[in-house]
């Protein structure tokens, strides 16, 4: 055990924990805008390795189907998605390809007031629901220096009704938390 621990300590650590941030457009029937943050840790020091992580995504619809004569007041239409992530990372020189399976929740929050000036009414609405969320994510990244990567992000929800958790596409920035 002593020899093994010395051997381990003498290995050059190449894979580090990372934090990733991204801007996304999301949705299916309506277009939402938002962002996400993700923490990942490698499960080995191999060139290609498995990862575990957690993420929090949130996106918003700022307009809905409102018009100048029928508009929304104090409107909130958003999804919050906390997820745990299992993944696999393929590494080739400056390129990294990450395949991930996020599993968690999608929390839908919709509330506000419709002001319809054309017809002449105001009506409040509110709806909050929580759904199981899972799917496949793909994030190809380009290493711009030893510590930082930029990339693309895509998420395909595998739940049946994509209004619960929609498709996501975006850009990302990843920074490694370097081991000392």
């Amino acid at each position: 055990m002593f020899i093994a621990s010395i051997a381990s300590a003498q290995d050059t650590t190449t894979n580090n924990k990372s934090i990733e941030f991204g801007f996304i457009v999301a949705g299916n029937e309506a277009l939402y805008y938002g962002g996400y943050g993700k923490f990942s840790m490698p499960l080995s020091q191999k060139k290609h390795y498995f990862t575990l992580g957690a993420s929090l995504t949130s996106y918003f619809d700022f307009k809905g189907e409102s018009t100048s004569e029928a508009y929304l007041k104090n409107d909130v239409d958003m999804r919050i998605l906390p997820n745990l992530i299992a993944g696999y990372s393929l590494n080739f020189n400056k390129f990294q390809f990450n395949f991930e399976i996020p599993i968690g929740l999608s929390i839908a929050i919709t509330k506000g007031t419709l002001v319809n000036e054309k017809i002449g009414f105001e009506r409040d609405y509110s709806n909050n629901e929580v759904f199981f969320n899972y799917g496949l994510a793909f994030t190809p990244k380009y290493r711009i220096n030893e510590k930082n990567l930029i990339g693309l992000y895509a998420f395909l929800p595998l739940i049946e009704d994509k209004a619960q958790s929609g498709y996501q596409f975006g850009i990302s920035w990843t920074t490694f938390i370097m081991n000392k």
Binding site: K118, L156, A163, Q164
Partner: protein
């Protein structure tokens, strides 16, 4: 390529799993000056010796299989009276045909389309099939189809061929809620709305539709129409696309529940008459 693969991976279409007979023909509308493919489903309980209920569905190419599947199942388990289902195609002209006014995404052809259904399609169907010729038809629509279903319900009742309406995910947002003006116009000239009406809305359809859906429900209920049978339901956990099948099922259950009660009463009465005659003999 990745995006396309993602989208393809998640595509799903209803397969036709019906018991019954399907037919297809094209009708030329002089009113609209366009051709419409007509998809016909004769379920197992269709009976050419009696007058069957006519159910008309909009967005034929998109919705025929889905609604035929539901009617086939209902026909087999006896939860729908003898009927014929007809879906009207040419769905790519839905923005022209289903919208009541000219507005963004719409050409305001609903009135012409209503006259096409009433004066061209329905007479043609009545000449080809054994259909109840009274104003007892059923109209089913989703989205812009739901908007057209509302529009048709608010047309004059005297010569309106429909008395059962199923609207799912109605596009209340269209032209800033112009459909409410048709509702108001109707109530000015009518004291009753003698129809069975089901309206469903997905709980994830966004603020404008959620609030408008509730407003329309409250308005219709507050009119105190003595012969309006109305059932409106928020369909939980679903967005605009996901509500259609659930809404159609619930709607068909609802609009025919009154007819079923009437039929049951009729059957009991017939049975009583039959027994009385035999007893007195």
């Amino acid at each position: 390529m990745i995006i396309c693969s993602f989208l393809l991976f998640s595509c799903k279409k209803d397969e036709l799993k019906i018991v019954g007979k399907t037919e297809e023909f094209t009708i030329k509308s002089i009113i609209i000056n366009d051709d419409y493919p007509i998809f016909v489903f004769l379920p197992p309980n269709y009976n050419s010796n009696i007058l069957n209920q006519l159910i008309i569905g909009l967005d034929g190419e998109l919705r025929f299989d889905e609604i035929a599947n539901i009617i086939s199942e209902k026909s087999e388990n006896g939860s729908i009276p003898p009927c014929i289902f007809v879906a009207v195609g040419n769905s790519d002209k839905r923005n022209r045909d289903y919208t009541p006014t000219k507005y963004e995404h719409g050409e305001g052809g609903a009135e012409n389309y209503y006259h096409f259904l009433k004066n061209e399609l329905i007479p043609e169907l009545e000449s080809k099939y054994s259909i109840d010729t009274l104003n007892t038809k059923t109209l089913i629509g989703n989205s812009f189809g739901g908007l057209f279903t509302h529009f048709t319900m608010f047309q004059d009742r005297i010569d309106n061929p429909f008395n059962k309406f199923i609207s799912v995910g109605c596009s209340f947002w269209f032209d800033s809620g112009v459909i409410f003006e048709y509702e108001e116009d109707y109530t000015v000239s009518h004291t009753d709305l003698h129809v069975n009406f089901f309206s469903g809305m997905g709980s994830l359809e966004g603020g404008v539709n959620l609030a408008s859906f509730e407003e329309m429900t409250i308005r219709l209920k507050n009119r105190n129409y003595s012969n309006l049978n109305i059932n409106t339901q928020l369909i939980d956990k679903h967005g605009h696309s996901g509500t259609a099948t659930i809404g159609f099922k619930k709607g068909l259950d609802y609009v025919f529940s009154y007819l079923k009660n009437t039929l049951n009463i009729t059957l009991v009465y017939c049975f009583y008459s039959f027994c009385s005659r035999h007893y007195h003999k």
